[in-house]
Amino acid sequence: MSSPTNLHLYILAAPLVAAFVLNLLGRLSRRWVMPLTLGPLVFSTAGSLMLLARVLKEGGFSYTVGNWTPPYGIELLVDPLSAMMLVLISGIALTATFSALPWVEREHPGSEHLFFTLYLILIAGLMGLVLTADAFNLYVLLEITSITTYGLIAMGKGRAPLASFNYIIMGSIGACFYLLGIGYLYILTGSLNMADMAAIIKTLPQGPALATAFAFAIVGLWVKMAFFPLHGWLPNAYSLAPTAAGLLFAPLMTKVTIYLMIRVILNVFTPEYVFYSHPLVQSGVVWAAAIAIVCASSLALGQRDLRRMLTYILIAEVGYMVGGFWLANSQGMTGAILHIFNDAVMTLCLFLAAAAIASRTGSLSFDNLKGLYRTMPVTMAAFTVGAFSIIGVPPTCGFFSKWYLLQGAVQAGQWGFLAALLFSSLVNAIMFFRIIELAYFTDDGEAHHGGHHHGDDHHAPVAEAPLPMLAPLVVTAAALLVIGLGTGPIVSAIRLTLPKFL
């Protein structure tokens, strides 16, 4: 235990305060938007890196807001995992913002400050979620992130408001279920502090009340993370959202919710209760995850639009992590947590690539992807790296988390889950090579598309996306390789958080 400092509060406060300042100053002049968005995120990223370094060196600590001691006061927990999540959130948000700024300028001229107000509050909310050690605060923060998300999605064009409304309904059901679960738990334990609750739950008889509490809380979170078949809201919401918002949602929202599920299982209900006293439920969830992976992958295969395809892959990946964690062994849990990080980065890479492509082609329907290799070589190269990572080709990071998940499945004897993971990898390979084939080996204007193109089509000049979209994409693609080769240290940091008995 190291002595607490306030650093993590500053990390959290920076985007929050900036959001309100931006809302006021942004009205006066658009010049404020960029510094007030990037500034706090740079600060948060640097701060969370420092915090992570400290936590890894000196161990985690818990922090009491306003000096009210737990279990009554509000407690924040800074352990290696939450510090890593902070780095992930701030890093991804920062990277995505470079590409988001030009997109917002393009899609929402005049209301940039409004967009980024919500955007920054969302980031602050996500950071709060990973830090909180209080079950009720978790609900409030969950709703803060959701409400900002609803707003951001509704800013999209066309059907986006409808998608947003569907998300409001589904998201509210999820949040209410979670609240209900916590309500039962509060009635049982009289506490809302996670550690306190966990201590009391150990002494409680295992009855239907506890099971109800658990079921509501977990199903609530499943709705929020779009665990198949509770995923219905996600594809529309994420693919119709403004491009800039999608860049932030896709990598972070589902992943943070999975982190919350892990927190609730590890720190509230305890793995003994969740996994070992109910082996049938445990293996049932793994099977459900296997089915989720297979179904979501198959649905992804049917899509004819790049971004929609990616959203279904996102849902399949949720199955990876839920199933991996419920394997309930060290390898599986490590794989699930590692996959949170890896999936976040590779999703960011693919969405950045999609955004870069859309900036040139306008639409992401497969027909528009032909021959892109000639016109956007750098974008497509980065896209290919991201695709390989999703498929799980070494040495990209996606391979290594899949490795741990597969190994966990082998150890747990969950052959169905193993098969589902392999199936999904193969389906991903088919999907992405279909695109790579279109982009690399099909010339635009070839054969049946001949009519409406110019004659010199085969020497189409290189027309890359603008630098603010390209640079973060290249950085993210490189990060996929770096993270992959640095899996060793990341895993040892993750292992610090896992229960000792594993």
Binding site: F136, Y139, V140, E143, S146, I147, Y150, G151, A154, R159, P161, L162, S164, F165, I168, I169, S172, I173, A175, C176, L179, L180, G183, Y186, I187, L192
Partner: protein, 129 residues
């Protein structure tokens, strides 16, 4: 039968909240009108608020407002006051619920401007065209 009745009567607050919740859930999923869906959501949230609040109640206890000096001198007998914490929590939950409703109404306005209706099937029909 009498056993069941007794059970229901003894824990009537739970049964009430369950009924309310089901009404809300039905409206959210079953109704085609988007405003009705939203109303269902509010009923759903209210049900949960009721559950929390009713969990703080004690038979024969009063409101948790006590004389400061008396309390400091003699302490507070917990059986004489209801548990105030759930109420406080629900204040926050109400704020959340109001914000969600606000956002949802704003979104509904946009939908109405776009499609001129709030019936889900009519909207889908218009999109389909």
């Amino acid at each position: 039968m009498t056993g069941l009745t007794a059970e229901i009567v003894a824990k009537y607050n739970y049964w009430l909240y369950v009924i309310l919740m089901m009404v809300g859930l039905y409206a959210m999923i079953g109704k085609k009108n988007l405003v009705k869906k939203l109303l269902g959501m509010n009923i759903f949230q209210t049900a949960i608020i009721l559950l929390y609040v009713s969990s703080g109640v004690k038979r024969g206890a009063g409101i948790p407002i006590v004389d400061k000096y008396k309390a400091l001198a003699q302490g507070v007998d917990p059986t004489l006051v209801v548990n105030p914490l759930p109420h406080v929590l629900m204040l926050t939950a109400i704020v959340v619920s109001v914000s969600v409703t606000g956002v949802a109404l704003a979104v509904l306005l946009r939908i109405y401007r776009e499609y001129g209706t709030l019936e889900e099937d009519e909207i889908l029909e218009k999109i389909g065209k």
